[in-house]
Structure formats: C-alpha cells, structure tokens
Symmetry: C2
Subunit: 414 residues, 2 copies
C-alpha cells in the first residue's frame, strides 16, 4: 500500500479531529486516585461501526458486551471506557456493570442504550463500583467538547502503564471531500498478536457502508495491530473499534474502488502509527524493535517469522544489551512454525546509525561488532530478514526486554 498515492496528510490532534466527534475524560476514582480514569467519545450523528476483539477464550464483560452491540445495533454514538479495573473474570456481575453504564450514558446523552459501547482495562478479577461509573458518565456528557484538549483528556483517562498518550489523525481526499480518520489507543504490556491488551478507538467522518467498513477492519488488522508483541500475553480486554459518522459528506463508499482504497490507506496509516506507538511504549521498553521479513514463501509464514523474532525474549534481551547476537534471531525463526532453508537466510540490522549485514549464506559475515552496537543503540531498530524463499513480506513490532519490564509486572497490582 503506497500511502502517497492517495496524498494522505498527517494532521494534529486525536479523535476530535474527525468531524462531529467529541470527547471527554474525568477522574472517577475507579482504582487510581488523582487522575483521569474514565473516557467518553461521542458522535453527534449516528455512526456505522466495525470492530475486532481479543481472541482470548476468557473475554472480559465489556468485550462480550461490545461484540453484541457491534453485530446487532444499527448504529452507535458513544463509547465509555475506564482504566484501573478490567471488569474481566467477573461473571454476570460484570455484564450488569456494562449494562448499567450504558443505560446511564444513554440517558445522559439522549441516545438509544444500544448505541453505547463500553471498554475497560486494568486489573482482572475485581468488580468496578458501578455508581462511580454512573456519576462519571453524567459528568462526561456535560464536559464533551470537540477540542484537541478534550481528545487528550480521553486519551489520558484510558492509560494504565502507558508512559505516553497515543493519538494520530490524517486527512485524505475522497470524491472531492476531505475525509478525516483519527484515533486514540492505549496499550503497553500484555500485547501480542491476535489483539492484545489494547483499547483502540478510531473515529472517522467518512461515509461508508457497514459491509465495506468491516472489510477494511478485517483486512488491515492482521498487518497492523496483530503484528505487535510486547510480552506474548494476549489480554482478555482487547478492543478495536472503527466508527464512521458520514459527516465528511463524501459519496457513500459501498463497494471496492478508488474511494475505498483511499479510505483503506488512511485507516492503514492510522493503525500502523498506533501499533508502532504501542510497541515502542511496551512496558519498560527503551527502543522500538521492528522486524521485517521479506521474500518468504507465503504471507502467513512471513507474519509468523517476523512475530517470532519480535516476540523472542532472548532477542529482546539481546537488543536491550545492544548485543548483535544473530544466533538468537536464527533460532527464533527456526521455532516460528514456518519451514525454510537456514542456508538461504540473510540478516541485516538497520537504524538511523546505518545498516549492516550480519549473517548470510549459512555463515556469520565479517561485520564489525562496534558498528553493530552503534546501530543497535538507537531508539528505533529494524531487523531485515531476507528468507530468499518467495515474494511475501511482513513487519512486526515489539520492544526490548528490560529490567523495568520485570519491575512493572512484579509490582503492578500493588
């Protein structure tokens, strides 16, 4: 996908950059004190929605709740999402909390109850005091705004161990109209292929049919959010939602063609940006670990190989130590589940400090360790692995494995 073909233009701001979308974030004391912990996104007009959810068998209550809304509601208009408690492993009580929160939001916003989506992230196994959510929802509905600050408040409210808020907005011309696609997400630990602890809310003013919106989501997620891995743990709460309210007034996209391709390219840009941002903000991470596998025999093998390397504890720990240990890369390729000829593999390390070939034709090259270390010391490092087996490419994103990952996850609940 060539982003430039459609002249995708990055702009400032978060979800409120899309026409007709408002946001807010408030402090409700769900678990944390003295910080925003409940977010609301609101669309002034009914929005078409498509989503993807965690593949974990243990699905949190808000995931089950949203899956039902996305598949059965004619349109949606609001999202209420909290941090602190995940509302997972909470049985029937957890579903009641979702329903009561949606009821309260529907009343406060004067919209149907089934137009409200719910999201949660945080500790598993504890119940949220629903009164706090009901109070928060009233407050949120009164402080909704389409300013950039409002989007930032919502972003801050869904953060857990995230160290930076994550937002992105782009514009693209479709049928002579300017369409905006804007998103926010949270995610830091427990991030792994197949939708992992992350909440991602993408808002667009594009006019598009539900069918084409679903196609867009299901086509793009395997190459973006499902290609990030932080610790191999797939969470109970992952939620990706893409909402389109049609306020850009472009001609309805209800089939394939240039308009759909332009919209898809904009969504791909947004998804890629947020996926990379989440990997880079992995718990305790010092650097973004990008792994591109090229010339694999099949697309699925390219993805498997890239994810296996990006997710290897040993490769990640080596990157933390700026150690050019390519043996671990070969090893991780070898247990990915994809078959290949090790003798054909070529491995390059690349960053803003340069590029170096470390393994080729079955042997270590005569590279300089000093040069390799300099390359691996940068903020963003890419491993380029040429399988020489076919023509398929995939990229995965992860981060290094640091002392702080252990510290964060040994102490998270306390």
């Amino acid at each position: 996908m060539n982003d430039n073909k459609y002249k995708i233009e990055k702009t400032e701001g978060g979800v409120t950059a899309a026409k007709g979308f408002m946001a807010a974030g408030v402090a409700a004391g769900i678990k944390y004190t003295d910080r925003k912990d409940v977010a609301m996104i609101f669309s002034e007009s009914p929005a078409t929605v498509a989503g993807m959810f965690t593949s974990n068998v243990v699905k949190a209550a808000p995931v089950l709740y949203d899956m039902d809304i996305v598949s059965s509601s004619p349109f949606v208009q609001a999202v209420v999402a909290n941090s602190g408690i995940a509302n997972a492993a909470t049985g029937k009580d957890g579903m009641d909390i979702c329903r009561k929160t949606a009821e309260a939001a529907a009343a406060a916003l004067d919209i149907p109850e089934n137009a409200v989506l719910i999201g949660s992230t945080g500790v598993i196994g504890e119940l949220i005091d629903v009164k706090k959510l009901e109070t928060a929802v009233k407050e949120l509905s009164q402080s909704l705004s389409d300013t950039r600050q409002a989007a930032a408040d919502a972003e801050a409210a869904i953060m857990t161990t995230d160290t930076v808020p994550k937002e992105v907005a782009v514009r693209v011309s479709i049928g002579g109209r300017t369409v905006t696609v804007a998103g926010m997400s949270k995610g830091s630990g427990m991030i792994h292929p197949n939708m992992c602890t992350m909440l991602a809310y993408i808002c667009s003013d594009c006019n598009i049919s539900k069918e084409m919106l679903e196609k867009c989501v299901h086509t793009d997620i395997p190459d973006t959010f499902n290609m990030i891995t932080v610790d191999g743990d797939t969470s109970t709460n992952d939620t990706y939602l893409l909402m389109c309210n049609g306020r850009a007034d472009n001609p309805l996209i209800d089939g394939p063609g240039d308009d759909y391709d332009a919209f898809f390219a904009a969504v791909h840009y947004v998804n890629t940006h947020l996926a990379r941002a989440m990997a880079k903000d992995g718990e305790g991470a010092n650097r973004l670990f990008e792994v591109t596998v090229k010339n694999a025999d099949t697309k699925e093998n390219a993805r498997k190989l890239a994810r296996s390397v990006a997710g290897s504890s040993l490769c990640k720990a080596a990157l933390f130590g700026c150690d050019s240990n390519f043996g671990r890369v070969l090893c991780a390729l070898g247990y990915s589940g994809a078959d290949f000829d090790p003798e054909k593999v070529s491995i390059d390390y690349k960053s803003s400090a340069g590029a170096i070939n470390v393994f080729c034709a079955g042997h270590k090259t005569g590279y300089s360790e000093e040069e390799a270390t300099a390359i691996l010391s940068k903020d963003e490092v890419t491993y380029i692995i040429d399988m020489n087996e076919g023509e398929e490419t995939a990229t995965a994103w992860g981060c290094d494995l640091s002392y702080d990952y252990v510290k964060i996850n040994a102490d998270y609940r306390s």
Copy 2:
C-alpha cells in the same frame, strides 16, 4: 504412573551409577577459560540408543550429526559434548567439526566412528577450533573413570548459565536383577516445550530392544522434558539421548509387560527429576513454578493449558513479586489455544506454606492476600487449576521472571 508400584529407589551419583558407564570432563578452552568445558561418557559395552532432538528448523551441526547416528548406527559407545560454543548456524564447517571429533574419539577409544555421538551448547554462529576438541578427546579418553567424581566432572563440563549441576540415579528390580537408570543434563535459558536448550544424557545398564527403548523415549518426553518452559525460546541444540548397555543382565525387554513398565517408571522418574531441576535453575530464577492442570477435556489441552500458564511472562513476573494475580492465570489459560468454559475454572496456589483457593465459579474467592503471599514466597510453588471439563491431567514446570533473567541475557555473549 505410580512410582512406588515398582519400588524405584533413588541412589547417589550421576551417569556412572549405571554399570559399565564411565565419564570424564576436561578444560579445553573452547570459549571459557579456567573451567571444564568438554565432557565424555563412555560405555564399556555397545549400547542401544534412542533420542529426541530439537523441533527448531535451524538445527545445530551436532544435532544433525546425532540424528543420523541414532537412526543408522547398530550401537553407540561414547558421547563427546562441549559447552561455550553451540556449533549452530555453521553450515558445512560445523559438520566437519563433528566428524573430526568423532574420528578422534573413535581412535582414542578404539571403537567405530559411528559409535560416537556429539553434543554442543553455547553461543550460536561461531566455529569451534577443532584442534582443541581433538586434544580434549585424547585427554578425556585417558581420564575416564566410573567414580562419582568422574560423573560430576562431566556434568560440570556441559554447564553454561546453569548455577548447579544436574544429576540423578535410580534403581529398580527387573526380572530379579537390579537395573540402574542414571542421568545428567544441562539447561537453564532458552527452555521451552518441544525440546529446548538442554543436553540430557541418560545411561542405563538395562537390557532392552531398540524398538522398546524408542517407545519409552517417545512416550515419556511429552510429559517431562517437553513440559518445561523457561523463556519460550526453543533452542537449536536440544538433545536427549537414552543409552542402554544391557550390563544389568536382566532378561531382554523386547515387548510390553511388567518389565517394560518398571523400566519406563524408572526413566520417567529420572526425566521428571531432571526436567524439574532445569526449570528451577532457569536463568535468574528464584523459584520453581509448577502448574498442574486437572480435569481437562483432552490430554493435549491439559498440556497446552499448563504450559501456557507456566510460560506466561506476566504470570512469571507476578510470581517473582509474590503477587496473587489470578487474573493473569485466567488470561494465560484463555490464550493457550484450548477451548473451555471460564466459569468452571477453579485455581489453587500451593506450597510448603499451605494451600489456598483464589478463584472459583467465575469469581475471586474471599482469600487473604497475606496468606497468598506467604504461599507464593516459597522455593517451590504449585498452581493447581481444575478445568472441570473432563478427566485429563498434565503438569508443566517453569520459573519466575526476575531482573537477573534480563541481566543474564542482555550480557550473555560479553
């Protein structure tokens, strides 16, 4: 398998506890200085052999070499194994090193070249100076002995990041004769289901056919060595070999029956002991993390569920912090690939400090955090997870995830 049924008796010592087996370990400066780094095991009589090897697509030269010997040689008599350099990703040069080492050992021991097995563990991608191995082999063949110290020397020579040597020996009565099964192994990091960085050499004086020996190995490994996980990385060099020289003079075991079952029980004891010892000695580990899944619907699901929890970075980090975060356990069960009803799951934590039920019937129990922390603080901790779906059980072994794991693996090569 009830070990007591066959009156399996643990005894002192390593591989030399089995009749007709000798061992030695010497310092050859392969990579380390001032420590033993090449081991030899020698059987005075020809031994039947069965083995299992890494499932990694990238197989080290000694793995490819041994696979050929195990499948084609009528018998074996010696193993030469080094630490420091893994002889992996070394192409044709790597195979030459194996062949020359076997040639040297065959000459020194006056046995056929195809009766020599080779093993390596250490850094991937570097070549071993074969002259050092050739010199070591001569020295080893002259210092072979059947003493306990000789077994200890061999154990020490194959250690890498291991903090303790691993050995075990048991006796069992078969057909009125005393049969000994004795083993040594190394393994610490890069340990994961499907044979992982470990070298395990089991020696027995049992008289058994190749066919039944193979059956024994292929039946037991899935429940022992394939159930340990340290960091999810499956190595290029894993090798498990079981050699039987028949010196116990028991009636030949060439079919199923009580004699086979007694031998199998002894091998199972030895394999389980070494597997647990390797998990407990996981890089940077403070405690053994044992996960027993019971009442799963199928054996394969029981194994998947147990391994998923034992291998979860988040569960392991929580154990390091003595944090009773059962939500992470549920989460790891959920992404294991096995299907189940989360509402039926019950989770207990157990150690020498007691036992506690933390999750049951879809909800957190009213357990005491202090009590849970006391249980989780012990050297060996077991999670017992009742799926209430069927009747199958499996146990996996891992360890906690500590700061030291990161330190060891960020600095390993330097």
